[in-house]
């Protein structure tokens, strides 16, 4: 947000904007009354009349070096996983048992795995699966959680209590155990894992959005909408969720990171996707024996990739949180 020394800033409007109020611009207005004599050039420089909230957010985000690094890492891995196979050709369909556990060398810069697959190519297609499942599961979790939290927060009373106690009960179940059991029965493919991870990851977003809605629903613009005959559905979709979008977006980045880690845990425990697909967790599944066998190339490259991507999402999430929350912005 541009700094100005004019005292005529509407603090209420600024606060609302920071929380993502439906008016997506900040309007800095002069006080009513006769125009004072305005110098040709302000002491504080040229006065901007309007700045997009998203631009403000972006500006803040770009000031956060860790967040920018996170974006760079993520962009790198997205390009590596999806464009990489276009330039780096390896056979990821046919196993090569005569060349299993091959050390890095000519033809296979990072060696081969226990099925004879080229490691670099394996990381590429494993990354596609991990990123896609992570993203899709996070979207599903966020959609469910947002709707659940918004309904609970807006309606309140018994419905709120009931919905949130359901969340509490589900939160008390060990996530990994439940997901392992379900994935053993229905998982082992990309869509199965997306649904399993998505359906069991919406609890935290639900709590966050409920809290946000509880503070939003007493605001004037919500009251105004209600007085004008707005239904609960309209309130949720036109007023509450759009204004909670900052929280939603920040949350989704962490959800993606969590989903990728959960998928890695499933894969490590041998519950991940199977041939012809693979994911990073499944590639790490034999890490214990591979490391002791001296096959470091089957562990470290994919392990580092996983760490970097999860770290990148966390950096991005932190950056976004700082950027959308006006209280956390640097002044």
């Amino acid at each position: 947000m541009s700094e100005t020394n004019t005292p005529a800033v509407s603090t209420e409007t600024e606060t609302e904007t920071a929380r993502g109020v439906e008016d997506v611009s900040v309007t800095i207005e002069s006080p009513a009354g006769p125009e004072p004599a305005v110098p040709a050039v302000s002491d504080a420089g040229e006065l901007q009349s309007t700045t997009s909230a998203w631009k403000l957010t972006l500006r803040e985000f770009l000031k956060n070096k860790m967040a920018v690094a996170g974006v760079a890492i993520l962009v790198f891995f997205v390009l590596f996983c999806w464009l990489g196979p276009v330039f780096y050709h390896s056979n990821q369909n046919t196993t090569d048992l005569l060349n299993t556990d091959g050390a890095p060398g000519a033809g296979h810069p990072l060696g081969t795995d226990s099925n004879g697959f080229d490691i670099i190519g394996r990381i590429m297609i494993g990354g596609q699966t991990s990123l896609w499942i992570g993203f899709a599961a996070a979207v599903i979790a966020t959609v469910i959680g947002t709707l659940w939290g918004a309904v609970a927060g807006l309606l309140g009373g018994l419905i709120d209590a009931t919905l949130m106690r359901i969340v509490d009960i589900l939160l008390s179940l060990p996530f990994l155990l439940v997901v392992l059991i379900i994935s053993q029965r229905y998982g082992a493919n990309t869509w199965g894992l997306i649904i399993i991870l998505g359906v069991f990851s919406w609890l935290v977003p639900a709590r966050l959005i409920r809290g946000e809605v509880l503070s939003l629903k007493v605001r004037d613009f919500v009251s105004a909408a209600r007085v004008m005959g707005g239904t609960n559905t309209r309130l949720i979709f036109r007023h509450l969720i759009p204004n909670a979008m900052g929280t939603v977006i920040v949350n989704i980045t962490f959800q993606i990171a969590d989903a990728i880690l959960a998928l890695a845990a499933l894969g490590y425990l041998n519950f991940g996707v199977r041939y012809p697909n693979t994911d990073w967790g499944s590639q790490l599944g034999d890490a214990q024996s591979n490391l002791s066998n001296g096959y470091w190339w089957e562990v470290f490259p994919v392990g580092v990739s996983l760490v970097l991507v999860v770290m990148a999402f966390n950096f991005i999430g932190d950056g976004l949180r700082d950027a959308v929350d006006v209280r956390l912005r640097k002044r």
């Binding site: 369909n93 046919t94 196993t95 090569d96 048992l97 005569l98 060349n99 299993t100 556990d101 226990s114 099925n115 004879g116 053993q184 082992a188 493919n189 041998n270 199977r274 041939y275 012809p276 034999d286 214990q288 024996s289 002791s292 066998n293 001296g294």
Partner: protein, 629 residues
Amino acid sequence: MSRRNLRVLQAAALVATGALALSACGSSGGSNNNTKPNAAADYSYGTIPAASSNVVPGGTLHIAEDIGAQPNWIMPLTPAANSSVYDQYQFQYLSWRSLFWSPKGSTPDWDYSRSMTDGKPTVSADGKTFTIKLNGKYTWSDGQKVTSKDVLFWYYEYKAAVKESPANMGNYTVGQFPDNVTAVSAPDDQTVTFTFNQVLNPDWVLGTEFSQIVPMPAHAWAKSSDNGSMLDYTQPANAKAIYDYLSAASKKLDTYQTNPLWQVVDGPYKISMYNTSTGAANFVANKNYTGEGKPNIAEIDELAYTSPTAEFNDLQSGKLDFGYVKSDNYPQLGKLKTNGYNVYGLPSFGFNFSYFNFKNTTGGWDKAVAQLYIRQAFAHLQDEDAEIKGVFKGLAAPAYGPLGVAPKSPYTPESALTNPFPFSVDTAKQLLTSHGWTVVPNGTTTCTSPGTAANQCGAGITKGQNLDFTLFYTSTPKSVGQMMTAFAANLKQIGVNVTLKTDTFNNIVTNESVVSTPKNNNNWGMADFGGFTESIYPSTINLFNTGGSYNQGGFSDPTLDKLINNSMVSPDSNALKNEITAVDADLPGLFQPNEDRVYAWSPKLSGSTDSFAAATQFMLNPEDWYFTK
């Protein structure tokens, strides 16, 4: 202990009948860490040191249970669903010994020094009545002698069990033992006679029928409730009531250590602890043991593991005194040797395979795999040479049927020594295209010429039908996953898409079986839990005959049934060779290399060389072991 068909996670080749000079088994495997192991010409690995004379009585022996195969049935009448070498050979038989014992070390022969008899049964002139003489060597832990009545008790309970359900005994086939027994008697305390309804091959009777006999303590178990009186078990109603009582007790895992039934044993050890969560079990020495060997070691702790590497780490750290080494850790065999551990491996007397489900009607799968040319096409997509090199690091012997290439059995047909279905994607493709299939590599192959003519898909296969299926395999050891992934990748090259799913050994044995769990018939197309051990007379009865108790895929071929039956009745050894040749060609499953069963043990643990060699055949003989100074 006798050998018969039991499930194993991994099995290996038959050991030739004849002496295996253990001290001359060449061995190799490097002394440096992470070196590639090398098998000797007989596919053995490592050496067994001579027994030490420095016996230190007592101590606790820590050994490893196999992964996902924890024992869960204690009574020596084992249902098909619970039947495995891990449950019977390595758990039950510590406490209850079989009438006829085999192998002799690692050699598939009868070991009469450990048996309750001193020789083969005598056969009557008409060839139908077999007389078994007990040698009186064994005594129950409560002081009573093991007698012929205990043999009869086992027999009558066996009858009651299979009458209730054929699935109550793993090695039961309808119409055969005990259905084919017309009379039994115990003329005296040390003699038992069985009369059969037809003339049978004596080797078949011993290897397939009598090898199952595990005398049970009639004086302690012939009751139908905890405090009930002893019943006349020869009466069918009583026998059923007794079986139901014993069977119910065997299902109560949490009472294994407290139930007085399981404390009456004739083996060298009796159970003292069972962990229902993990399947780990402890045994203490039976101080009244009178059989071969002496239980010098006071306690045996069988530890449960969830991964081969966890077990290997315990071997390395010295927590385990005796344990297996899976292919996952073959590159580290040298580390164990550096620590002074003894290492020895040998293919076991049996076979590994992945089997077809001939009862899955989903998408016409049963009709497809009923066609021999389709099974042949699949067989051409399994590259055994590559599996031996890449998966087993050289520690495995080729096997193209139930009898492998090495060691060679007297019953191994010449045709079993060469691969009838060498790896060839082109041949597999040709087999399909010449039978009316349109092969789409990396796509979906479909039948485009249905019908029963020689160049058409075959009976029951519809136009547009594909060959996609679900394959279940055991999640450990890693070698099974490697082979199944390679197989799926090769199938993909001819347009067959496989959905791979993993499960534990115990679950696959139970769930992917048309015998144990027919309700799952339409859920799977192929499965792989490992394989089977073989009888000394290695007929495939129970395995591949119609209605066989271990015929997990429901294979049925009238011609093979006749050959199996012929092996049963004919004294001609060629009968069995003909049966094995037919199985090789019939492909009820896809046979795999027989991996060495590699074991490692502490330098402080010693015993007879035979007892350690027997471990490669899944046998535990801790009554021959002791700690040294």
